[in-house]
Amino acid sequence: MLLRACLVLLLFLSAAAAVPDPQQILRKDFSSWTLSEATRILNRSPWARKQTYTRVLGGVGSGIHGEKEIFNTFFVRLLSAPPIRRAYARIQQIQNGYDEMTPVAKSRLDAGIAPGLNMDVSRWIVVTISFRSNNPNMELSVKRFFDSQTLETMRDRAYLATEGFPRIELAAYFPPREEAVGAKFVFPRRIDGAAVVSPDQKEVNFEVNIPSVYRRLRVNFPVSDMLVEGALVL
């Protein structure tokens, strides 16, 4: 019985380990990524963070619409980093059956996704936030918050920080247009001619205060993890 349990556990762990490391994934052309590899880049990579705040509802009864463990999850991604946009592009390819397409159809699809893939972010660092919750009230409340903000009102709530720049001001804010990408926070790459992030720095912090969930969302992106073949990919 114990042996069987160990075998099951081993099988499970091996299944979990089957998705390769993000750096390995990046060595391949993104058009050959699997769905798991693309979602790995979007959720567990140096350019993506997932923060889940939980709440256990005590007592007898059905909680909130049958949910007794509340999960409030923020998906924070560096959209300006090419791996994130490639992962989005690859998911679009997979969704449309790209791998079985004719070359002509492929080129049409490539043309469709190219603007997003080759977006000009030479001057900007773009952070995106999506939110999901199993509490419908919370999900709508956070959606309403992101929808109703402007650059000016968000400027005091969200900022980027690095070792040399304790508070990098928001340059633009775009409310969410779709759930998959979420709200976009745009920060300058250079301030007074100096790069806000350099390969020798330790980390990039992103912080935003979200009153709907009474939370200060703080995310760290370690710089060393974002180096690909010695170059900072951000």
């Binding site: 499970f12 256990v56 005590g58 059905s62 972010v121 920080a161 304790p166 976009k184």
Partner: protein, 893 residues
């Protein structure tokens, strides 16, 4: 075929992207300032426009197999729920007595009390064209719960006058000598008592102290409906409408089976909110709301016309069928009985409107807002004491039930008139708040609010109060009816029409706070704040202290001296002439109670997922209401009324704002956000709270400083832990395909969650039975005559504290023990849930859960009996729930 489909999809995608681009080109650029700096890019779109327009939505997404999650779900995989265009769930939570452990006090060898709890519901949500969200839900609750209510009832032979089993002599109050053989002669049994023996059951349990167990089921039926509509317009406006309705009924159980309460509840709520972004700097929100609440509770004896007359006590009446029932009888040492608190009716309406706007001005974020609330309390009855209340303290025979058998109450009271009140209040507030970012590491917040809450006024001109409020010496005054000539002559017109309490227009509430990052890192943050806020006196206080006075409604109270009975149960209100008139009132200059609160918080994040927090919360409460009894005689023998400072009145019960208190709370908490399938949060808190807010009456009204003591309900230490653990973490469960493997389906998706709570006991006081010092007030505390060291005493269910440390005070004196000097047993429980989630091939989720409340079956005793001088003193008669198990099934789609 697939190639054709693919070509169509690609065509659709390209058209969709072109279409979206066109639409956006027409849309007003939201970030005009920044975007204008980014013109001239080669594609025709500036880089910021490209960022703004970036999206990956597929126009033909619905053509893709529905067995796959949507694109948004694939990129934002979520652990517990999958939503699509149409999503929802159905669920069922079930518990019954077959799954529960035996309560410590449940009689052995017998089935557990009946318990069936079914809660079921459904929810459905749909998003229409990304603009409209519709959501509706239904939740139904059905409970049948047989509780274990323990009480002490007289032996059957006592109803025949035979008290030989009592073990203590019964004194004949006529002769002052014990009854021969402890037997009250048949001829001396009071006819009213004989009438009432039918509602006093015989013992059904061998326990001599807890000799009656009532397992009658408590019933609850409740249905809640919710509908919500969200709309997001093209013009940066969002609207929100919600309506909810709760409908329910039920039955509450009395310790004796002849009594109880049938309850009806109906609550409705409607709210509409509109939110709009104006330009780049202003976010505004306005909302209106309406709530209606009805609660009605009546005895099962209600409606039996003539019942109160059949008891045989003259001077009692039930004005209508709804208020029919038995009088209340409180017999020291035995179970109380009667149809207390029937009927209880509470009907309230609340109308509200609010508006707020937030703007950013440089380093300042400014918020201004205002709100208006109108409250109505209609057709309210909250006492139902017209049928009379009678206390039998055992003063005359040495046993409470023997006093009852002889028909010798120590106190008799009744209410006369209607206790209906129709109250109105308007509340208004305006506020301004600013957050000022002084530097990257320092931010200040500040603001001020102005509150105005009018005192409740009567819409039916049926309130009155005692005025002026002079207590000593000699207390005097008059009962003044609102809006009467007398009220105007005394200057009470300042209270407004229908009112007797002056408005308090001085409620300014400042707040200030700072946030500081001392090491220029975002991980460590220091926060400090000071705020002042108000807590208005509620409608029930106004209803009770102004809505229940002469001439509309009043209490007549007759009290017999402790040494000579002069009340007869058959005619209790005629032996004392005139009947004692208890008057109530509210201090006319009652200020709005306020709290000053200050906090100091140090929080630190480390290792990405951990959050540590050390905090101190302090507050000082000022002007909180409490009832001050007046016209109270000094303790002495003999009739009370003639000894009162003003014998023309009975006791004054005046609500004042004289209470104060303070609290200090130190808290250490650690939180691990969900990572690798595990999250937890634990907190340890040290508390200290003092106040002088006694429950209903002070022990000595001339020494209110002696009432300052640890606050009721506040423990010294608290620990809590809650956690969620995925038993086999590391897999993203929303990707579908690999979830089809039956073996993985079996081992995957197991989760453990739980809450643990451990806390010290909360304080309580030790009292003497009845009015031991004969000053007309209850709440007399016992003498503490010794203090047994805790290491020389072992608590047990039959003696939780050293009962010999306490004694009844000398006759006609105050006890020396303080308020809240003992602590009840602590509380310790582990609630654990085991959950199995299974993802179906089409992406729907099935969840099965088993929840164990008090999983390790820890016995958590309730407060011991705290009335000195009875055989029950120091004994415990109840325990919180034993281990209970709930099973649940949920299907989400």
């Amino acid at each position: 075929m697939s190639r054709v489909l693919n070509s169509l999809l690609v065509f659709g995608l390209v058209i969709g992207i072109w279409d979206q681009g066109s639409a956006k080109a027409k849309a007003k650029p939201k970030q005009g300032e920044a975007a204008s700096q980014e013109s001239g890019a080669g594609s025709g779109k500036s880089p910021l426009d490209q960022i703004r327009d970036y999206q990956i939505r597929l126009v033909r997404e619905t053509a893709v197999s529905t067995s796959r999650p949507s694109l948004a779900e694939m990129v934002n995989p979520f652990p517990a729920k999958q939503s699509g265009r149409l999503n929802g769930s159905v669920y069922w939570f079930h518990r019954n007595d077959n799954l529960d452990a035996r309560n410590f006090f449940d009689p052995g060898g017998q089935p557990l009390p009946e318990y069936k709890r079914n809660e079921f519901g459904a929810s459905l949500g749909v998003r229409v064209r990304d603009k409209i969200n519709l959501f509706g839900s239904l939740r139904s609750l059905r409970i049948i719960k047989g509780s274990t209510l323990l009480s002490h009832v007289p032996e059957p032979e006592m109803k025949r006058g035979d008290f030989s089993s009592l073990g203590a002599p019964i004194v004949d109050p006529v002769t002052g000598e014990p009854f021969p053989g402890n037997q009250i002669p048949q001829s001396r049994l009071h006819p009213v008592a004989e009438n009432l023996f039918r509602v006093i059951p015989d013992p059904n349990s061998p326990d001599p102290d807890r000799n009656f167990v009532n397992n009658q089921p408590r019933v609850t039926n409740r249905d809640t409906y919710l509908f919500r509509f969200d709309y997001t317009g093209d013009d940066d406006a969002r609207s929100f409408l919600q309506y909810s309705l709760t409908d329910g009924d039920g039955k509450l159980v009395h310790p004796l089976p002849s009594f109880g309460w049938n309850r009806t509840l109906r609550s409705q709520s409607l709210s509409l909110s509109h939110n709009r972004t104006l330009g780049t700097r202003w976010v505004t929100e306005g909302s209106i709301g309406y709530n209606r609440y009805l609660s009605l509770s009546v005895s099962p004896n209600s409606g039996q016309v003539g019942l109160v007359d059949s008891v045989g006590i003259s001077g009692l009446a039930a004005p209508d069928a709804l208020t029919e029932g038995y009088p209340d009888f409180e017999v020291t040492g035995y179970a109380s009985f009667g149809d207390s608190s029937s009927p209880y009716k509470w009907l309230s309406n609340r109308y509200s409107a609010s508006f707020s706007t937030t703007t950013a001005l440089g380093d300042h974020t400014l918020t201004l807002g205002t709100s208006l609330t109108k409250r109505q309390v209609n057709d309210t009855h909250i006492e139902g004491r017209g049928r009379g209340e009678f206390e039998f303290s055992g003063f005359y025979t040495g046993d409470g039930f023997a006093d009852f058998v002889l028909g010798l109450p120590s106190v008799a009271s009744r209410t006369v008139g209607s206790d209906r009140t129709d109250l109105r209040r308007n509340q208004w507030q305006a506020y301004i708040r600013d957050r000022w970012r002084l530097s990257p590491i320092l931010a200040l917040t500040g603001g001020v609010a102005y509150h105005y809450a009018s005192p409740y006024r009567s819409a039916s001109d049926t309130i009155s109060g005692f005025f002026p409020l002079l207590f000593e010496p000699p207390p005097t005054g008059r009962i003044i009816v609102a809006d009467s000539f007398e009220a105007r002559a005394l200057g009470l017109e300042r209270a407004g029409r229908g009112g007797l309490v002056f408005p308090d227009r001085n409620d300014w509430a400042p707040r200030i706070g700072l946030s500081y990052k001392p090491f220029r890192t975002n991980r460590l943050v220091l926060r400090a704040s000071y705020s002042l806020y108000y807590s208005v006196v509620g409608s029930s206080s106004f209803s009770r202290y102004l809505g229940k006075n002469f001439p509309f409604y009043y209490t007549e109270r007759a009290q017999s001296p402790v040494d000579s009975p002069d009340l007869d149960l058959a005619n209790p209100f005629e032996n004392v002439a005139p009947p004692e008139l208890v008057v109530r009132g509210i201090e006319t200059g009652l200020r709005t109670p306020y709290v000053q609160a200050w906090t100091l918080i140090l929080e630190n994040d480390f290792q990405e997922v951990w959050h540590l927090r050390a905090s101190y919360y302090g507050n000082k409460r000022t002007g909180w209401s409490r009832v001050l009894p007046g016209n109270v005689p000094l303790p002495a023998s003999g009739p009370i009324q003639s000894r009162r400072p003003n014998p023309a009145f009975g006791q004054f019960r005046i609500l004042t704002g004289a209470s104060s208190g303070s609290s200090h709370r130190m808290n250490l908490s650690a939180e691990r956000r969900l990572s690798d399938g595990m999250s937890l949060r634990s907190a340890f808190t040290l508390l200290r709270s003092l106040d002088d807010r006694y429950r209903s009456e002070p022990s000595n009204p001339r020494n209110l400083k002696a009432e300052r003591a640890p606050s009721r309900g506040v423990p010294i230490r608290q620990f809590s832990l809650n956690y969620i653990i995925d038993l086999l973490p590391g897999r993203e469960r929303t990707l579908g395909a690999e979830g089809r493997n039956p073996l993985l389906q079996l081992v995957d998706g197991w989760r453990l969650s739980g809450i643990t709570r451990i806390q010290d006991g909360t304080p309580f006081s030790v009292f003497v039975p009845g009015d031991g010092n004969n000053d007309g007030l209850g709440g007399d505390r016992a003498d503490r005559i010794s203090m047994t060291p805790s290491d020389r005493f072992e608590s047990s269910v039959d003696m939780w504290f050293p009962v010999d440390d306490f004694a009844e005070p000398a006759p006609y004196s105050f006890g020396n023990s303080g308020r809240n000097i003992l602590r009840r047993p602590g509380f310790h429980a582990w609630d654990i849930s085991l959950i199995k989630q299974t993802r179906l091939v089409n992406g729907d989720l099935v969840e099965l859960r088993v929840e164990l409340f008090n999983a390790f079956n820890q016995v958590n005793f309730r407060q011991p009996n705290a009335v000195v001088g009875t055989s029950l003193f120091g004994k415990i008669f109840g325990a919180h729930r034993s281990r209970e198990i709930e099973v649940a099934l949920k299907y989400s789609f």
